[in-house]
């Protein structure tokens, strides 16, 4: 019976979104930021990218929604795919890609408008203008981000009237409104206090039931708490990639062990 369920779940996963990197190299001018990185990110899991500052983990994360395109001197070779589609193919519609692959940034960056308008922005740019439809989707997204109860009576207030932790959850609601399948999170809790951080971590735990989540984090304990798989980057190379349990208890590579035990970083 167990074997049958395992087989069944493999079939389901193969229909969902895998993020695949194959022999990826990235340069910023002469700086070889990522060297020959290959990994497969599994759907409906939280994959954490850890490593010291400047090791390339944010660069790697931003490959999946092509946000690196805006940086001058960015050059890439290798293959980045979502399932069978190479997303660096010239004919890819980047706007459609970013609706499927959403991003939450390190410092909360709400738009300078009301809470409602922040969440509605992603919908308006798709041409949705009917008030009833917008109202419904805004409410759903704010509920998914566990922010609805706190703001339902003050949707017209400025986004800046919220606390840091609330602003970050607003940014998450804004991203969820366009109904992505993947969430890329670049150190989402690093600007937050411990209480907001733990609320955010609980939220991520809930979200992984419906989304594939990749999270860059500086905080190793956080990676240990919330991720299913962890990838350790160092100086542009992928050193080790395995289940979080194995990485933290019995890493294969000595560098991994040194980083995780705090010998350097």
């Amino acid at each position: 019976m167990g074997k049958a369920i395992e087989y069944y779940s493999i079939i389901i996963t193969s229909l969902m979104n895998q993020l695949i990197a194959n022999n990826v190299n990235v340069w910023y001018g002469d700086n070889h930021a990522l060297q020959d990185v290959s990994m497969v990110i599994e759907p409906y899991q939280v994959t954490a990218l850890i490593g010291p500052s400047g090791c390339g983990k944010s660069t790697f994360l931003r490959l999946f929604n092509r946000m690196n395109d805006y940086i001058d001197n960015f050059r890439m070779d290798g293959e980045i795919s979502i399932d069978d589609t190479n997303i660096y193919n010239g004919s890819i519609n980047t706007e459609e890609l970013r609706k499927k692959v959403g991003m939450v940034f390190q410092k909360p960056n709400p738009f300078p408008s009301s809470i409602y308008e922040n969440v509605a922005f992603g919908l308006r740019i798709q041409g949705i203008h009917k008030k009833s439809e917008l109202d419904e989707k805004v409410e759903t997204s704010l509920k998914k981000a566990v922010l609805w109860d706190e703001v339902k009576d003050s949707l017209k207030k400025s986004a800046f009237s919220l606390s840091g932790g609330q602003q970050q959850r607003l940014c998450i609601a804004r991203t969820l409104a366009v109904e992505p399948q993947v969430l890329l999170m670049d150190e989402p809790a690093s600007a937050l206090d411990p209480v907001s951080t733990s609320k955010l971590e609980n939220l991520i735990f809930e979200l992984k039931k419906s989304y594939t989540i990749v999270i860059v984090t500086h905080n190793m304990q956080q990676a240990g708490r919330i991720s299913d798989r962890t990838a350790f980057f160092y100086m542009g190379k992928l050193i080790e990639y395995d289940t979080t349990k194995k990485m933290f208890l019995k890493p294969t590579n000595i560098q991994t062990q040194n980083y995780i035990t705090g010998r350097f970083g």
Partner: protein
């Protein structure tokens, strides 16, 4: 005396120097305004504002000059704001940063400092003669627009630069196109700054006489303009004309005209400051 005393003294010295310099400016301005009010206030009444110019100082009014100035302002706003803001957006958001764009940036900054008479000469040749617009309001406003478009471009670019890049990033990450990001996020966020810059540029423009004399603003126009192709006169020109008349009563007229021009300028700057304060409170980075 030791070092501490010396430093304290220098501190106080600079403070007093600053206060004196400020006061010199303020006192000169006060003397000027007082003088103008003294000579002109008596002549300033409703009749003055609605009368046409005349040989007789008691009858002469600034109606045509005022209308000319308003027409000029409206036409200039239409031309310079559309061209200047669009060019500013294009240069800031669409061109690739490279050698060529730097040259362009330096070029435009230089144009801001070119004496206004030069624009008059350019306008005379290009708009009056080549395009055959003659000495009309349209030619004048196009010339004035040329004068202030570089200022508006620089202001627009600076305002857009001041919007945090994180706003752009957030919009792109949600799947917005470049134009959607500009139209729905960047422009609304920088509109306060852009409008402030535009109003300041216009406040400067309405005081310009030299380039407009070159392109045909006339000195004696007994009718208010009714179309962009009409002849016209302007406040600064009318004032200048009155100060050069031999009759001493015309000086009172000139002073009254100056009061009106100052009022318009102060009013525009005041609106500017009000709007800037209002918008700065609303948008907190």
């Amino acid at each position: 005396m030791n070092n501490t005393t010396k430093n304290r003294l220098n501190d106080k010295l600079f403070q007093y120097l600053g206060i004196i310099s400020t006061f010199i400016g303020l006192i000169l301005l006060a003397v000027f305004i007082f003088n103008i009010l003294q000579t002109g206030l008596q002549r300033l009444d409703w009749n003055f504002l609605i009368s046409l110019p005349s040989r007789f100082p008691e009858k002469a009014g600034i109606f045509t000059a005022l209308m000319g100035t308003f027409w000029m302002l409206i036409l200039t706003i239409i031309i310079s704001v559309t061209l200047g803001v669009s060019a500013g957006i294009y240069l800031e958001e669409y061109t690739k940063k490279g050698f060529f764009s730097r040259i362009l940036e330096i070029n435009i900054s230089n144009l801001v400092g070119v004496p206004s008479v030069i624009y008059g000469i350019l306008g005379l040749s290009l708009f009056n003669r080549t395009l055959g617009l003659g000495g009309s309001l349209l030619a004048g406003s196009m010339t004035l627009s040329l004068l202030i478009i570089p200022v508006i471009i620089v202001t627009t670019r600076e305002s857009l630069k001041a919007v945090p890049k994180t706003i752009k990033e957030a919009a792109y990450a949600l799947g917005a196109t470049r134009w959607q990001t500009i139209w729905k996020q960047l422009l609304p966020a920088s509109s306060g700054s852009i409008i402030t810059g535009v109003i300041l540029a216009l406040a400067r423009a309405i005081g310009e006489a030299a380039p407009l004399i070159v392109v045909g603003a006339l000195v004696y126009v007994p009718f208010a303009p009714s179309s962009p192709m009409d002849d016209y006169t302007l406040l600064p020109i009318q004032i200048f004309n009155w100060t050069s008349r031999p009759q001493v009563e015309f000086q009172a007229n000139a002073s009254a005209g100056i009061i009106v021009l100052l009022f318009i300028t102060f009013f525009m700057n005041g609106v500017c400051i009000y709007l800037r304060n209002k918008w700065q409170k609303k948008v907190k980075w």
